[in-house]
Symmetry: C2
Subunit: 336 residues, 2 copies
């Protein structure tokens, strides 16, 4: 069965495409009798509007994009749930794009949006992204972009973040108070906004306890699961083994648990661990994991709400503002 | 900055829209000098094709949809990774739609695809879906739909599944061999294809061990997290407390762990647990969780490859066939 187009409907009725389109939308510009005639034929022939054709007429796609590093992480899957709850209430479709932490893939995705595939974009940047060019081009084309969690600090933009510096500072202090003296910070990037902030919080707490720059131990785990395992294992098997670990993302905490298990190191006896994580099972791990739990769902909701506020106006002018939603340190057995 | 359309380009050049479109695609129907002139102006003015306009011309959207119950589950997040690896190799966009286990939401999503928003669909049905009408309508419109994991058995279709009946049979036998005599099966639906198959495998093993229909204990957890917690707690706090649990999805295993913790029941001492789960941290739970690990990534890859085989032909005729990829029982501490 071929697709019935609006043009075919118009031909059958001896009307213009514009009149049929208006009649289908029940526009008062068209007489009641014509509207009725058009709508009846459309029903009879099971006409379904082509979304691309109607999006060209309306100059709106009815779709927003969410660009994320991955979905196999509880922070991002909860944030998606928050975004979708708002998009659906606004009658919008949500497209999810994964960058897998690749700036190249991210750039290709963003460039594709230039043609108007989506009305607006919510993005959490890949760990290694440093070039804001693709974002600038979208903004120049009046396509609103809102950042959440991992943001560009350099651009004027609407950002929804959590208190990364303070959370990391708190986590480091917690480890110091429990007696840790060789704390390592596991990062996924040396440039990403949240990684830099969390690093600053870690350094600030160390400095307050009288540690010097030489005591800063940042392990950047940018590779795949296997390479990250090796990096962490090398550190935990070395003479200068850390006695405390701050994992900046959930999966690095899981890898650290695996390494400790394989090296027969006791948590929290030999090493204490805190992770940024939204995993429901953190409390059920052996030992239960102390977490910095982020307001992921709420961050998604807030970012989507900011986008729809802009989409409801004619001009897509986004305020240059940063909204900070607080995270929460939940102490469990992994910190003793 | 307004969007430059192909029509504006054509007007500037004094050419037809069709000629400009062909010149941009480097068609030999257009003279070399004209092609060069068009392409140079397009570059100079930063022309980006509107994907909806070009999809109307090509009658292809370059997009596939993945319709899923949720992403906060390691089976689905791994399946998405598998699907994306194939879509990307084919130069396609992947749109992810979440049904949150709602047949109504699923139907609305599928109906929207009738207009040609996507070239093909990969779907894992919501737990409560029983009506294949929305799928039939897509098939009637020549839009290919491929099922993975949760499928319709009644329709002729291409399905990618795992050996649910056998896995569940194996899991139940494992619990019986460890001495369990009151095994409960935690399901999310009484109608979903995989839930029914897993139930059959469970009943088959019970029957082989001489148990009757009265010993079958299926707890259907269709509600939100809070209601599921209450259902499981009521069962584990009752006089007829199960001594073995088969959790048909990952999240029900986590809830069971929480209930056991709260009721101070020992795993595996009081209750042994096996779960269908792809969670990397299953081995790190307290106690480590015995799992039936599904080939999630491979199922996603296989489903996407089947879709692209159809998209490469003119007629979207899908073979009526079921591909079964095996799961694996991994025994850990939760079964003693």
């Amino acid at each position: 069965m071929g697709n019935l187009t609006i043009r075919m409907l118009a031909e059958k009725l001896g009307l213009s495409v514009g009149s049929v389109s208006k009649a289908l939308r029940d526009s008062p510009e068209i007489s009641t009798s014509t509207r009725k005639k058009v709508q009846e034929l459309a029903r009879e022939l099971h006409y379904v509007p082509n979304p691309y054709a109607s999006s060209l007429r309306r100059k709106r796609s009815g779709t927003i994009a969410v660009v994320l590093p991955e979905v196999a992480d509880h922070f991002f899957s909860s944030a998606i749930d928050g975004i979708e709850s708002i998009a659906q209430a606004n009658g919008y479709h949500t497209l999810i794009y994964l960058t897998h932490e690749s700036p190249l893939r991210e750039e290709a995705i963003l460039q594709d949006f230039q043609g108007g595939r989506v009305d607006g974009i919510l993005i959490s940047l890949s760990g290694a992204t440093t070039d804001p060019r693709a974002i600038r081009e979208l903004v120049a084309r009046n396509i609103p972009v809102i950042f959440f969690d991992r943001v560009f600090e350099e651009l004027p933009a609407t950002r929804i973040v959590t208190d990364d510096l303070h959370s990391s500072y708190q986590a480091t202090r917690c480890l110091l108070e429990k007696g840790c003296r060789k704390i390592a910070y596991l990062s996924i990037s040396s440039t990403s906004s949240i990684m830099v902030k969390r690093m600053e919080g870690y350094k600030k707490a160390l400095a307050e306890y009288g540690f010097s720059g030489e005591d800063v131990n940042c392990i950047v785990c940018e590779g795949d699961a296997g390479r990250n395992y090796t990096l962490i294992k090398d550190s935990l098997a070395s003479d200068r083994r850390p006695d405390g670990i701050i994992a900046s993302v959930e999966k690095l905490a899981i890898t650290t648990y695996q390494v400790c298990h394989d090296l027969q190191l006791s948590i929290p006896g030999d090493i204490k661990i805190i992770a940024f994580s939204n995993q429901a099972s953190a409390a059920l791990l052996d030992p239960s994991l102390t977490t910095i739990t982020q307001p992921a769902f709420e961050m998604g909701r807030t970012a989507a709400a900011a986008l729809f506020r802009v989409l409801q106006t004619e001009e897509a002018i986004l305020p240059d503002e940063t909204t900070v939603l607080p995270s929460k340190l939940i102490e469990r057995e992994s910190t003793g």
